[in-house]
Symmetry: D2
Subunit: 384 residues, 4 copies
Amino acid sequence: MTANRSTSDGLHEATLSEALGPRAARTRQGGRTISVGIVGATGYAGGELVRLLLNHPRVRLAGLHGRNRDNVPIADSHPHLSATGLVIDQAIPEADAIFTALPHGVAAGMAAAIVARGSALLDVGPDFRLHDPADYPRWYKFDHPAPELLAEAVYGLPELHRDEMRAAAERQATVIGLPGCYPTATILTLAPLARAGLIGDLAVDAKSGVSGAGREPKADLLFSEVNESVKAYGIFTHRHTAEMEQELKEQGERGSLGSRDANPGVATVDFLPHLIPMTRGILASCHVRPTRPVTQAELDALYAEAYRDEPFVQVVANPPATKHVYGSNMCRVWCRVDPRTGRVLALGVIDNLVKGAAGQAVQALNVLFGLPETTGLEQYPIAP
Amino acid sequence: MTANRSTSDGLHEATLSEALGPRAARTRQGGRTISVGIVGATGYAGGELVRLLLNHPRVRLAGLHGRNRDNVPIADSHPHLSATGLVIDQAIPEADAIFTALPHGVAAGMAAAIVARGSALLDVGPDFRLHDPADYPRWYKFDHPAPELLAEAVYGLPELHRDEMRAAAERQATVIGLPGCYPTATILTLAPLARAGLIGDLAVDAKSGVSGAGREPKADLLFSEVNESVKAYGIFTHRHTAEMEQELKEQGERGSLGSRDANPGVATVDFLPHLIPMTRGILASCHVRPTRPVTQAELDALYAEAYRDEPFVQVVANPPATKHVYGSNMCRVWCRVDPRTGRVLALGVIDNLVKGAAGQAVQALNVLFGLPETTGLEQYPIAP
Amino acid sequence: MTANRSTSDGLHEATLSEALGPRAARTRQGGRTISVGIVGATGYAGGELVRLLLNHPRVRLAGLHGRNRDNVPIADSHPHLSATGLVIDQAIPEADAIFTALPHGVAAGMAAAIVARGSALLDVGPDFRLHDPADYPRWYKFDHPAPELLAEAVYGLPELHRDEMRAAAERQATVIGLPGCYPTATILTLAPLARAGLIGDLAVDAKSGVSGAGREPKADLLFSEVNESVKAYGIFTHRHTAEMEQELKEQGERGSLGSRDANPGVATVDFLPHLIPMTRGILASCHVRPTRPVTQAELDALYAEAYRDEPFVQVVANPPATKHVYGSNMCRVWCRVDPRTGRVLALGVIDNLVKGAAGQAVQALNVLFGLPETTGLEQYPIAP
Amino acid sequence: MTANRSTSDGLHEATLSEALGPRAARTRQGGRTISVGIVGATGYAGGELVRLLLNHPRVRLAGLHGRNRDNVPIADSHPHLSATGLVIDQAIPEADAIFTALPHGVAAGMAAAIVARGSALLDVGPDFRLHDPADYPRWYKFDHPAPELLAEAVYGLPELHRDEMRAAAERQATVIGLPGCYPTATILTLAPLARAGLIGDLAVDAKSGVSGAGREPKADLLFSEVNESVKAYGIFTHRHTAEMEQELKEQGERGSLGSRDANPGVATVDFLPHLIPMTRGILASCHVRPTRPVTQAELDALYAEAYRDEPFVQVVANPPATKHVYGSNMCRVWCRVDPRTGRVLALGVIDNLVKGAAGQAVQALNVLFGLPETTGLEQYPIAP
């Protein structure tokens, strides 16, 4: 593992002087190494970013930030990564790209300073996902401190916004709001239906592993509370609802060339997340009453067309289980019409910490820096 | 535990001669002991029946049947019950009441012989749940061998059919088709809405522990396959759908005095069960688009009215988790209208092996024999 | 469940005036109800005490204490018990018997006041387990504040100290130090060998469910940390070691009539506990190098003799699993000599929250008050 | 993932004619691709081999064998690998190296034919682990059909037998008996102590995830049986005991230059494996009574010396958890003397399917073919 091992000595070697300037850095990467910093490296998403980036052939870790840490070995936060020899600091790293994995509201406050240094900002948190600034007080209970950056931010789901992301890489301020875990699974599962204007009534019933709730010690996340139990939570108020509505509505508008009437069903999403006794994985079960009768052949064509060239979305023949994507950046989707009732069921699975967080962030990095999207993400799922 | 301990010697003491005849036995139980046999005692439901009946102050176990067994200690099937000293035999016990817990189609074939001996038959399996004989070839792929008994059978959900069950106890042939686990959770969760004609579009997204799948060794039920994974199964074809549609339709008709038009939404149920990595418990998440706008006060009144006097249905203030009912015969239900979208969400939890199988069977026994319904079922849930 | 339901109004009815005085209360219980209070009712052991005592035919709950609580519904701490209608208060209940389930050092500070009111004190915590006051600073890092009470305290493992417990019930100050969960499993598993002087070298390798660690939110008890992992903890320093050494040594001395030389091996226990991904249950795997060659027949005789009349210790023919005792007060033990190596292996399982905590406390209550030991503890294990 | 994707067309391209002959192939691999076949690819170890080999830059999969399969997509056995497009056949692949992952006795029967074709044989099963042919009838209940190959086989634990493995690569018949999962963890954990003659009495108490038991559907491996339970199994008779005794004895002899008396303790191992409710991972807790008093400094020196240059053995400062190595080829070991008792505790963890099976097999392949041992095994553990 020595090839990938970064020493603590090397962590702060990255300087802006070695870069050709951020814009060029992001677009004309010949064989150059991309320096990357992680702000908020002590959480689960931060740990996954480290794991994935250490296997990325073009990335050099320029620094790992953790609140109130001063040269603390990574083993304190991530014992499984102790062999890396990395350390965590409270300094914000200087790098070509900065990943922020922080509680909501924190990255928004740091963003201006980060982009001013020429770094591309890829926020794993929610601070740059919602286009309408009014959605932040509404769903997240804070006023967005950087609405001008928000206006430039791109929703970082490559399968839907690849071109916008590439365009953002050319800008002075590159800000990517990476999707939430539930929206990633849900939007990829429903986008073909949304674009076709087929979603009438919609209930998204999602099941998640516990790691999505983070690693703050909370009583209801204790093993003894979660094990042998299932419950719904965030009922009617889960913040990811806003993202789903934003994106599904936009897909509907794209599909119908802007005619909102063509796709009235996606105005609101009936989203219900559940906590189940597992660590990783999300299954989004999407119950759709279609706007008109559909055939299976039609559905098959829609999904094949949508994802034919996507390396990380697999349209599968059998209902997917979260175990089929564990540890990988894959999303598997499956869609069927019930011949008895005419309703449509669409299922999608991801690993919430990979395609739902760190893996998608690396995929977005690859888009911004002109690399093949699969770079560093080639690992197959691990099972059983 | 000696008080409850049955010895193998005592297992076959029960004879018809000691009974006053089945009809009287079921209706005028002064302090008399009810003799009970279990056919198919080696499965999970059978084991739970033994566990519960050993704590039932009015029941004497008259015999435990298992295929191809001859005086085999119960420890072979249920090591946790080895202290009972019970044995399992291939003889069908003679008793006041016989519980059958068998693969579909088997109890139907035995039923005539059992009721001919004067025993009340309580089938934990599906053979007497569906009123329309045509539903058996349609959903279960067999022709019902005893349609005349099926015509007399009562759907054994006491909260909905208590009076019919009591009436059945007076008949010569008493046959109770005990509800499936998913239908129990779903119907109790939705009955107040169904009776009020409020269910428009309906998606029932259910999550179950693995014990509901029985204990036949199947590759996809292995620990390594189920653990750290969630998947949907039985998509569009799960047999419990038929029960839900039968009962919800009937509740709708009751509520609207027979006018089917008043409640068109429940014609079909979009039912999707999931297997999650836990052993016991079902959560039914019922996504309802109401037939008209409703207020929370209206919903609260409907549920309070429906379940005020029910000892085993608790209308709760917080969203229920399956852990809240583990090991008990309780069902917890919760219903809310989403003020943002106007949709209604109803949640219900049970322990699939207790209220979803063995506990409900004991509750039904209590109804048939005129005992307080809670007899032998007073145990509180066990947590964590 | 109404029979057992205590209303909040009734919680404080118990007064000393209604008692005949503590000594008589504990020894001449005709059919009288025993009033019981729980101090520290919000933890897992407290919840189990409530669950078990509500099924105890001779007990009335006189009050539930929780720090900084004022008439708070029990559902806040124990949602599964919400149907009881009980409340939690910060007052110390007055009652015939007080169970304390508190962090170490706290019950010791309260004990004098509790026994001064004539209540029998049954401490589920460790404050009265160790006979030598010097063991408290050594193992628990506090000086015992009530050494005179400690001197009168009895180690509350009925299978070993039943007579001493009965004698304690006659005293003015009745104090029972209930055993820890690991010691319960280990001592019951090894006592027959210890008494026979057979334990030479001893390694106790124990595996515990997570509930034994309590419900304080700690990062390393989060589901995502515990799931899919096993680790040893408390290495060389686990406080339960002191109890095991105290009791095994005493058993050895009993067996050899005080000759310490006869049983040198139990001077120290090589105790290693592990945290495994389950909620309840302890398996103690005891690796013994015997002091002399033994035969299986000799071992069988020792165990049969030791536990023939014990309702809660079952000497089993097959290696026990923790699932075999889940939710019950049973301990299962199994002991074999390896014909190849001559070593002896003894295995024991309990439910750490029942026989390892709350159930054993109720068993001790029954001993003190002259009731059959199984009263209120008749429930069979629940499986799967 | 296209770079790694093998098509079914390419699967049988490998022919002996393209090889330079087995001996040279194994020793002078310039940049040449190694063709590899897997016999028994449908089990868990087989699936892991595929996952790892697809990430191996120098390996080409020449064929996957499964009994009674004829061009069956890999998704039937390993849904998580469906994106590979691989198929499984009943033909034995021709390749530079053949991995066999089969029930005991099967690979031994095939071995002669495989090596006759010039393939190196790496058996993941037990057929070539034990040097003494008499151990096969004794522990495995079959007579070894190829004792002459067994005589040439090397025990494939690179950390102990790297040089012998390299020598075997030069032979006409190259046969590697890859270690079992428990022995891998145990031997690596204890080798430094064994070589130093420090192991007096020894109890190895091991805990394993369920995947080690394979994927044959057995009742006691069902989720509902394993979940929330722990049990010992294979008591006194587990076949891996033979390997541990063989290797620890040999290490002792090496350390003492052949004097058996110097290290009498390791003559027999008191080995006790446990099944715990997780999928992957083994923790070996090794309780050692040392042959003489030792200091921690001495132990630290022994372990540092033994594993200083080993890429896959990490001597750690804190007690290891299996989660720290999940999905990786790492083994973590930790060793301490108890200052109170003088006993020594050594702990070791591995992922049973990686370092305990497929990963170790790939490491052995790298040794045989002169590649850096970490090739294809650089992935860090995945957590949480």
